[in-house]
């Protein structure tokens, strides 16, 4: 065996030490899958073995679960659903359940000694042993996080966990993918014992000697599940669970529904049947485009990007010790905080010292919160805050490795800041402009070193939003890109890289989302429908809410600016008048002045402003399922379509960056895998046909671009054409 070391002690206790060669963490690879049955066979048949312990040879823990890399590549291939392939898929997925079932019914006692974490399939292996002992270390996590990437625990997790800790507890843990530490796990009942670190193996052996032929609770005679769906106390867990799940997920996540079904159907039958049910739902889930897209985007791509996958090769790692943030408004304040948290010496510059201090106070507020929640010591918080130096003088910018300019969206002011800051910078330092709409190449004209100039688009609130959109101006050098990526990774954000244009990628697509909501309003669709549809499509908020958040007057100003910039090329939309009336005549600016598409009462939740129907008469007051499906499609497709246009214009060059940017940047329906994955999931050809149909009904904004038509013609996908390998080759 390659992945397990075998030892037999003088008491006849076999110790199998899980240790996948060449990896820092054990995962369940194809090789492991091959060896597990051998272990079971050995325990069962070797008369010298009285009992067995599974443990790990890695300091990192016991096992982090299945190898999603392997799974992802399998997932990408199969789209056929012929009966034979389904059967084969079931057999493949059920093999792990068979092995673990034979382990727990092998007739001899098996224990699991957990010095470190056990997640996903790792925990599922542990649950199939008769006794789990864990080291007392609050940092060690035990959980089934599969649902976070659109999967379900497929190695008995949905069956053994509810039988150990109850349906309701198991449902919460599995649906949310949350982990527990050893003490919590013991209190819940899925870890049998907690001992001092380093003592788990000894404790396991001790237990084995005292318990020679253990049987799982569910295999004991007379075992009965207490909280099945038709037991007195069990019904509400399902009735309530189904409702909460619908409320939270809008039914968009197949894995979540299937987890509930595994619990519901599995808990009512004996373990062997229960595991078959789980395996079927596992295959069913894996076959959905949602699971495939989610594994790729939320797991594989996230992992790649957070390791700097876009970083141009051939440049040494850029050490960033000092960064100047210019402009201490909400964005600048947030950037200062994340920098200080990453240990970066930060100069926070504003036109007045009061302004700069106000920006710093934001960090103090967040740090105080951490201290009060016990997440940080006062000393650490003080040291962190001390990293931020407020100033009004550009002299303090001297020695900065990186500048983040976060002043008002005004070309003249930005140009002035650029000049003043650059005067203080060393030759290799990077100047980053945090702008959400203004083209970088234009801004870089103010720079004497445009090759060091790059757009660094943060998202608000900076401390919560994980994305940074790096925008390359025409002259931005590859070295600057590498340095900027090093900066973004240092502050623990995920960078995507795009090329320059008005609104770049993210702001431009968000604009189409809001725009489509406004178009619906213009058509006389009842505002409640528009808002509910937005959320049901998987967006974090409805388009009218979002417009209220970004401020209607800002939307209006941007429209006016765009009108001015584009002149005759500007295409008026039916709602331009609505926005103008709201902003100019009625002073309804959005949340910031307490009135926009919504009213914001001092107490209670916001309510849609009834007066909107006086401006736009409601013509569509009901929303039957067909209309609902079409409106959801419009909300999502318009964003993916604009994404395709960004590819054609060269703003985007990577499907991965498009997807991650959309999910992290503005919460685009995660179950689709992102704006590019959505099109691949639908199929480019079908997407084009559907967009053509929408264009015929709602206007040219839905007309597919030439790129999409070409891809449809050639049968291409975004990941085929703009996959990460291609990007690397092009670079």
């Amino acid at each position: 065996m390659e992945n397990f070391k075998f030892e037999l002690d003088e008491d006849g206790i076999a110790v199998f030490t899980f240790d996948v060669p060449g990896r820092s963490m054990n995962t369940i690879t194809a090789g492991v899958m091959k060896e597990l049955p051998q272990i079971v066979e050995q325990i069962k048949t070797d008369p010298k073995i009285k009992g067995a312990v599974l443990t790990s040879g890695k300091a990192s823990g016991f096992c982090a679960g299945a190898d999603l890399g392997e799974m992802g590549s399998n997932a990408a291939q199969s789209t056929a659903s012929a009966e034979d392939r389904l059967r084969a898929a079931f057999e493949g997925s059920h093999s792990m359940n068979r092995v673990l079932r034979s382990l727990e019914t092998c007739g001899k006692s098996v224990a699991c000694a957990l010095e470190g974490l056990a997640l996903g399939g790792g925990l599922e292996i542990a649950l199939a042993t008769h006794y789990r002992v864990a080291a007392d270390n609050p940092k060690i996590q035990f959980g089934l996080p599969e649902s976070k990437v659109g999967l379900l625990p497929g190695a008995g997790g949905t069956q053994r966990l509810p039988r150990l800790i109850g349906v309701q507890n198991a449902a919460m843990m599995i649906l949310q993918g949350t982990s527990k530490n050893a003490t919590e796990a013991k209190a819940l009942g899925f870890i049998n014992d907690v001992v001092e670190p380093g003592q788990t193996l000894r404790a396991a052996k001790k237990w084995l000697k005292g318990t020679p032929d253990a049987v799982q609770p569910w295999d004991k005679k007379g075992y009965r599940v207490k909280d099945g769906p038709y037991s007195p106390g069990g019904g509400m867990a399902f009735v309530g669970g189904n409702a909460v799940l619908m409320k939270q997920s809008y039914g968009n996540y197949p894995a979540q529904k299937h987890i509930m079904s595994c619990l519901y159907e599995g808990i009512q039958v004996p373990m062997d049947a229960a595991l078959r049910i789980e395996s079927r739902y596992f295959v069913k889930t894996l076959q959905t485009p949602q699971a495939r897209a989610m594994i790729r985007s939320l797991f594989l791509s996230m992992q790649e990007l957070s390791k700097g996958a876009n970083r141009p090769e051939g440049f040494a790692k850029y050490e960033i010790k000092k960064v100047a943030v210019i402009g201490a408004g909400f964005m600048g304040a947030g950037v200062s905080y994340v920098q200080a948290m990453a240990g970066i010496e930060t100069v926070l510059l504003d036109t007045t010292i009061e302004g700069a201090e106000k920006g710093k106070a934001y960090s103090k507020k967040l740090l105080d919160k951490r201290v009060s929640r016990g997440q940080m010591t006062q000393e650490k918080a003080d040291a962190t805050l001390a990293l931020i130096k407020t100033t009004t003088s550009y002299d303090d910018v001297k020695g900065a490795d990186f500048v983040v300019e976060a002043v008002f969206e005004n070309r003249e002011i930005k140009a002035e800041v650029t000049k003043q800051a650059e005067a203080q910078l060393a030759a290799g330092a990077v100047f980053g402009s945090n702008t959400s709409t203004l083209p970088i190449t234009g801004l870089a004209e103010a720079s004497v070193r445009p090759e060091n100039f790059i757009g660094v688009h943060f998202f608000s609130p900076v401390d919560k939003m994980g994305l940074v959109e790096l925008i390359l101006g025409k002259k931005t050098s590859q070295e600057t890109v590498a340095k900027a990526i090093d900066y973004v990774l240092k502050i623990k954000k995920t960078p995507i890289v795009v090329n320059d244009s008005r609104g770049f990628y993210t702001s431009r697509i968000v604009g189409t989302f809001i725009g489509e909501g406004l178009a619906m309003l213009g058509e006389g669709i009842k505002p409640a429908i528009i808002e509910n549809i937005g959320k049901m499509a998987g967006m974090p908020v409805g388009p009218l809410s979002l417009n209220d958040e970004v401020a209607l007057d800002l939307s209006w100003k941007i429209r006016e600016q765009t009108k001015k910039d584009l002149g005759g090329a500007y295409k008026a939309t039916p709602v331009d008048g609505v926005i103008e009336k709201m902003v100019v005549d009625l002073q309804r600016f959005g949340r910031k002045n307490g009135k926009g598409f919504y009213d914001y009462p001092a107490e209670g939740k916001k309510k849609l402003w009834p007066g909107i129907t006086d401006i736009v008469a409601t013509k569509v007051a009901e929303c039957p399922p067909d209309l609902k499906a079409e409106l959801i499609k419009r909300i999502l497709y318009i964003q993916s379509l604009e994404t395709a246009r960004c590819f054609e214009e060269g703003i985007l060059t990577s499907a991965r960056d498009a997807d991650i940017g959309s999910i992290l940047g503005w919460g685009f329906a995660p179950y689709t895998g992102g704006t590019a994955s959505l099109i691949d999931g639908v199929g480019v050809k079908k997407f084009v046909e559907e967009c053509d149909a929408l264009a015929a009904k709602y206007g040219d904004r839905f007309k597919p671009n030439a790129l999409l038509r070409e891809m449809a013609e050639k049968g291409e996908t975004f990941y085929g054409r703009y996959g990460s390998e291609k990007v690397k080759q092009a670079a």
Binding site: G241, L245, M246, K247, I529, N532
Partner: protein, 403 residues
């Protein structure tokens, strides 16, 4: 094809459906037995001529399980040859039982059948029979399962009925029921429930609150706010089926919803010929019956559609109906039905309904058939339409004509 006639109808008074209710100490079997005995005795019925008994019962578990109808037939000392079947169409079970009885007669399968139903809600609580709709994730989520109370609140929200509207309707139900009792309008049908000694235990509907006013109702908290807005939050579920709703207004409470009660009903249905042979006088003719499925999440809008379906089938319009009876599951259900069909409230539920007197699930349909037979005779009217809203989105209806 034969015609189906109603020869008689009886019902128990309705006891409060809780442990302090008068009928709580009476078994469901006894309730069913007593109505069967009453309809036999007052008609001097040769039970060997009865082919079958169809009773509705919505929670057929425990003492109500195991085909309670057949067991009641035996217990009532009917001829051994009389069959019995228990059926469940949720709240319309009792009316469905009568429709099925009529269908057996019309098809020629049977000559004399008893329809009706039984439910002791105090002894076998609502929901005791379980069911997969709310629990099984595959169907609960797909169909946006939402409890009926939230569905009723959604009807009020969607069709514009305020708390004042639903409370006003509830007050009217109480007043009409009180007046009907005062004038003895139910006396033809009511058979007092007897105890083990044969002494009368209950001879009046004990759920009524004739002194109900807008003020007294106004003090009641809405009943479905918590399950709708908080835990688990069904408002957000049903809004996914009805995105046009921004917020569900919770207007229903115990005072404008049907009461939980115990009771039983029986309706004697047969061919004219068999009636003649048994010396019975037909009181009404069953012109037709129908059932329909409607959108399940809002659940309770079926009456509108089943009424339209049945009237169309009979070649009638709303003008052909003199009296309208819709079970008062919730005030908004009646208000929506009246609004959708543009009915005259003066002809609707003229003697009050389940808000005042209670809704013994499986028995109610048979009870309100009896109420309409009595009222057609008393008020000298021709035709009545009887209907109920039904769980999981259905409607069941029957049209009868005085003979």
């Amino acid at each position: 094809m034969s015609e189906a006639y109603i020869f008689d109808a009886v019902r128990t008074p309705r006891g409060k459906g809780k442990s302090t209710g008068t009928l709580h100490e009476v078994t469901a079997l006894s309730l069913a037995t007593q109505v069967l005995q009453a309809i036999r005795d007052r008609n001097n019925l040769d039970t060997s001529k009865v082919d079958d008994v169809v009773f509705g019962c919505v929670s057929p578990v425990g003492e109500q399980g195991g085909d309670i109808t057949r067991i009641a037939v035996i217990n009532a000392d009917y001829a051994e040859s009389v069959a019995g079947v228990q059926i469940d169409r949720f709240c319309a079970s009792g009316l469905e039982a009568c429709n099925m009885a009529a269908a057996k007669v019309k098809s020629g399968e049977a000559d004399m059948v008893i329809g009706g139903g039984v439910e002791s809600m105090s002894r076998i609580p609502m929901g005791a029979a379980g069911g997969s709709w709310a629990t099984d994730p595959t169907i609960a989520m797909k169909s946006y399962f939402t409890p009926q109370g939230v569905g009723a609140d959604l009807i009020a929200t969607k069709y514009g009925f305020t708390r004042t509207d639903v409370d006003a309707y509830a007050v009217q139900s109480q007043q009409r029921a009180a007046a009907a009792w005062k004038e003895g309008r139910f006396k033809k049908s009511i058979v007092p429930v007897k105890d083990q000694l044969g002494l009368t235990l209950l001879d009046r509907d004990e759920h009524m609150r004739p002194d109900t006013t807008m003020q007294s109702l106004g003090s009641l908290e809405p009943a479905f706010t918590v399950q709708g807005e908080q835990m688990p939050g069904f408002d957000e579920v049903i809004k996914q089926r009805y995105p046009e709703v921004e917020d569900v207004m919770h207007v229903h409470h115990a005072g404008n919803s049907s009461g939980i009660v115990d009771g039983a009903s029986a309706v004697l249905i047969g061919t004219k010929e068999m009636g003649k042979a048994l010396g019975l006088k037909a009181r009404a003719k069953i012109l037709g019956g129908a059932s329909i499925g409607s959108e399940p999440a809002i659940m309770l809008t079926g009456p509108e559609f089943v009424t339209a379906k049945l009237l169309k089938k009979l070649g009638m319009t709303t003008k052909d109906i003199d009296l309208w009876e819709l079970n008062e599951a919730f005030a908004s259900v009646v208000l929506r039905w009246v609004q959708a069909l543009e009915l005259d409230m003066a002809k609707v539920n003229v003697n009050g309904g389940a808000i005042a007197m209670g809704h013994p699930l499986g028995a109610t349909g048979g009870m309100i058939v009896g109420t309409m037979v009595d009222e057609l005779e008393r008020a000298d009217k021709e035709r009545a339409l009887i209907t109920l809203c039904v769980g999981a989105g259905m409607g069941t209806a029957m049209v009868i004509e005085r003979v």
